[in-house]
């Protein structure tokens, strides 16, 4: 009994001397284990949450148990029951125990009997358990139990005091850590006269003064001269004295005169009687932020100015592009009302063709958190469309999320018009340059080409690059190169040139004549910037000019021959008729025939003369074309050589004249058939014409023999045609009338030129 009382006394004494909870609890375990003779005892603390127990202290237990083991506050455990019941639970022999589960570590440690006694803190808060363990079955008698209850009753307040002390210590430690550790906050204390009494490390870091330099100094040394002049230090302290605290947001002075912007406050400190005994001054150095804010304000002002002079509309939308704020400038730009603008109404102001594009731009910008830079049309207040350049940037919050977007519209209608005009005119010019048949090129410094049109490459086979400088000379005919270069020599003085030379065609490998012209392009000062040139294919023109020369010569030839023919005919005619009226008539008719056939020949180059045309020409001249059934003209399309036409026409004229005067066309019952066909002989295309008159036997006034007049026709058939045309001819006069055949070369191809 005495031992127990002594143990209680010893513990109380120990507990008063020690502020260490662990040491106090360990001592408690030792004393109780000694008194009860178990050698083993421990304190189990209920952990936060109330679902587990922690072996807080103990004696007679291994170090890997004490301070280490946690066990769940099992429903079927004796510990739990003791806590819930609020009274000691004794287990005399664990081997016999059936009420409670026993933790494994206890069995392993050979515990046979134990006593659980709850520990209560003031206010009926359960702290945990005092557990006394015995390795032998043991009956904890009433005395033991009573002792344990008394012991834990003393233990509760001791633990409570120590726990509170622990919390305070931690808070103090934390405070010290914050106050002394921080360098961004300047913290110091002053006395009632505002002289510095405590100078913490943050204050030294911010203001630069050491503790020794700062202590005893009036706090006013930290104020700027301007503020001191205004009595700012006194006003601030008096405000704090009266109102408990005062803001301290102003520029301060560091050691050495530098300035630091402090965002802080002054708090009054009171003694137990409520009298101000000093001031706590805490402030944060926000100089950098202050400077950047000033810079920001400046740049904002600058931007506003810039935007105002650039942008037609300035606006803000939320993170998703939804309009939540009014934008008067947008409304002025588009004519939308506030209601139309808010939400997603701005889409309606975009041209229908570009809404999908604008929406896609938005979506991509939001996804990429990037800038928006898009161009599309928006409606103007007057209903017209104008081009706008939208630029928007995301504004991010502290966590990097998009807070909102700020954007603006820059009107680019004028620029677009200029662009289009340029594109249009460039396109037109290119179309023109590349569409014309001429080879187009540009040159500088005289003859150095800098560009050749696709036509040049297509014609010469020379690449555009290869034509540069004097490369263009390569396709020029070697004989013509001096001419081509000589033209350039005079170009500068003459202000251009025009020259003809030959250029090789890659497709045919032959040279064609080109007329090349160059004209200077000058700058504003009249200096030649470059030369623009064209080369026009004049090959066909030259060929035409040549053939025209040939034609003129041919015409000359024909005309002179014609006169010679006329003279010959006149001589022949006079020989036949003598210088009589008959001569005049016969010559007149023959010259008319000659004249008619000239009409055909004059068009022969364009429209080759057919045999049918010659036959009809002569028959029609006699009115025989209208003789109905009596005259039959039939044959395929046969073209005559130009050299053949005149002689043949004159021969047919004589035949027709004779028929009119004496033959088939001189009476109603006569018939004339002029027919022809083509055949080939010895590879030569020839035609066979038959002139057959019938019905002479029926003529009312038969004239026998045929008068002299027919003689000339016969001469032309039998002599002139063979002589001039290589014709084979027959001429027979029978009882029924004239039968005549003419076999002569025809013209193979009407569209092939004939050599004169």
């Amino acid at each position: 009994m005495l031992r127990r009382e002594k143990a209680l006394g010893d513990f109380g004494e120990f507990a008063q001397r020690s502020d260490d909870l662990n040491k106090v609890l360990t001592q408690a375990c030792r004393l109780v284990a000694e008194v009860l003779g178990t050698g083993q005892a421990k304190v189990l603390e209920i952990e936060e949450g109330g679902t587990s127990l922690f072996v807080r202290a103990g004696v007679g237990w291994n170090p890997d148990i004490v301070g280490k083991v946690r066990l769940p506050l099992d429903e079927h455990s004796s510990e739990n029951f003791a806590i819930k019941a609020g009274k000691p639970v004794i287990m005399e022999d664990l081997r016999q125990e059936q009420r409670f589960d026993v933790p494994a570590y206890m069995k392993e440690a050979g515990v046979q009997a134990l006593a659980n006694v709850p520990i209560f803190l003031p206010g009926h808060r359960t702290y945990g358990l005092l557990q006394v363990d015995a390795t032998e079955p043991r009956d904890f008698g009433d005395e033991d139990t009573e002792f344990l209850r008394t012991y834990t009753t003393i233990l509760g307040p001791v633990i409570d005091r120590l726990l509170n002390l622990q919390v305070m210590n931690r808070a103090e430690e934390r405070f010290r850590h914050i106050v002394e550790g921080t360098r961004d906050y300047a913290i110091f204390l002053t006395d009632a006269e505002d002289r510095i009494t405590d100078w913490l490390p943050g204050a030294e870091a911010v203001y630069g003064f050491t503790v020794a330099e700062a202590l005893g100094q009036p706090a006013a040394i930290l104020f700027t001269p301007e503020d001191r002049e205004q009595n700012a230090p006194q006003i601030e302290v008096e405000t704090a004295r009266l109102e408990g605290a005062a803001p301290n947001v102003r520029w301060h002075v560091r050691k050495g005169g530098g300035r630091v912007f402090i965002d802080g406050a002054v708090s009054a400190l009171y003694d137990a009687d409520g009298v101000v005994r000093g001031f706590l001054k805490i402030g944060q150095d926000v100089t950098a932020r202050r400077r950047s804010e000033a810079a920001l304000r400046e740049s904002e002002a600058r931007h506003r100015l810039l935007i105002g002079s650039w942008a037609q509309a300035v606006w803000e939308v939320d993170a998703n592009g939804v309009v939540v704020a009014d934008s008067p400038s947008w409304r002025a730009y588009t004519g939308q009302t506030v209601e139309e603008w808010l939400g997603n109404g701005w889409f309606d102001a975009i041209h229908p063709d570009e809404r999908a594009y604008a929406e896609r731009q938005w979506r991509e910008a939001i996804a990429a958190r990037g800038f928006v830079d898009a161009e599309f049309r928006v409606r103007a207040p007057d209903g017209s469309w104008r081009w706008t350049n939208v630029r928007a940037a995301p504004v991010l919050d502290a966590t990097g999320r998009i807070e909102k977007w700020v954007g603006m519209n820059i009107d680019i209608s004028a620029r677009k018009r200029a662009e289009w005009a340029l594109i249009h005119s460039e396109g037109q010019l290119r179309d023109l340059v590349e569409g014309v048949s001429q080879l187009v090129w540009r040159a500088i410094d005289g003859s150095d080409w800098i560009w050749a049109s696709p036509q040049w490459t297509a014609f010469t086979g020379q690449s555009e690059v290869d034509s540069h400088d004097r490369g263009w000379l390569e396709p020029v005919h070697p004989d013509d190169r001096p001419i081509a270069l000589a033209a350039w020599d005079k170009a500068g003085v003459a202000g251009g040139f025009e020259v003809e030379y030959r250029i090789r065609n890659a497709a045919t490998g032959t040279y064609r004549w080109f007329q090349t012209r160059a004209a200077p392009r000058r700058d504003a000062r009249g200096e030649v910037v470059e030369w623009l040139g064209t080369s026009t294919d004049v090959h066909q023109l030259k060929a035409l000019q040549q053939s025209q020369a040939v034609m003129v010569a041919e015409l000359q030839h024909r005309t002179r021959n014609l006169i010679a023919v006329v003279r010959g005919i006149a001589d022949d005619t006079m020989e036949q008729t003598g210088p009589t009226e008959a001569f005049r008539l016969a010559l007149g008719n023959r010259l008319s025939a000659l004249s008619r056939v000239q009409g055909l020949l004059s068009r022969a180059e364009v429209e080759p003369v057919t045999l049918a045309a010659v036959v009809h020409l002569e028959l029609d001249a006699l009115g025989a074309g209208a003789s109905g059934d009596r005259v039959r003209v039939a044959g395929p399309d046969v073209w005559l050589r130009n050299s053949t036409v005149q002689t043949l026409a004159l021969a047919l004229h004589e035949l027709a004249t004779n028929a009119r005067k004496y033959g088939a066309l001189s009476h109603d019952r006569g018939q004339l058939a002029v027919t022809w066909s083509e055949h080939h002989q010895a590879g030569e295309r020839r035609l066979m014409l038959e002139w057959i008159e019938t019905g002479l036997e029926h003529a009312p006034q038969r004239t026998q023999p045929v008068p002299d007049g027919s003689g000339y026709g016969r001469e032309l058939i039998e002599q002139a045609l063979p002589h001039a045309l290589g014709a084979r001819t027959t001429y027979r006069l029978t009882e029924t009338g004239v039968r005549c055949t003419i076999d002569l070369p025809s013209r193979p191809d009407p569209h092939e030129g004939e050599t004169p």
């Binding site: 002179r560 021959n561 010959g568």
Partner: protein
Amino acid sequence: MTNAQGSVTGKRVLVVEDDYFIAKALARSLRAGGADVLGPVATVADAMDLIDTEPLDGAVLDINLRDGDLVFPVADALTERAVPFIFASGYSSGAIPERYAGIVRCVKPVEADAFRALFSPAP
């Protein structure tokens, strides 16, 4: 129509001309001057036949003959035989090779006086 100098009288003159009427007129004109006309012929082949077979004193040659033939082979054959000749052509210039530069060229219709050049020293 003719005088002693350059007269065609009694001369054997070849006429090469493909146009029937002109050939006939040339022949008539030469005959009127007392010449003995050979031909007229319209082709080089016929002319060559006569040159090879008949004695000749001179010739009147049209340049463009039938079928596009040119008379120059005939002219060369005559030059070879030293037979004088003149050209009668519808063309006022050109188309005559350089080697015939010394040959008198008449433009049709040929005047009878032109034949004198055949038998006179060149002017």
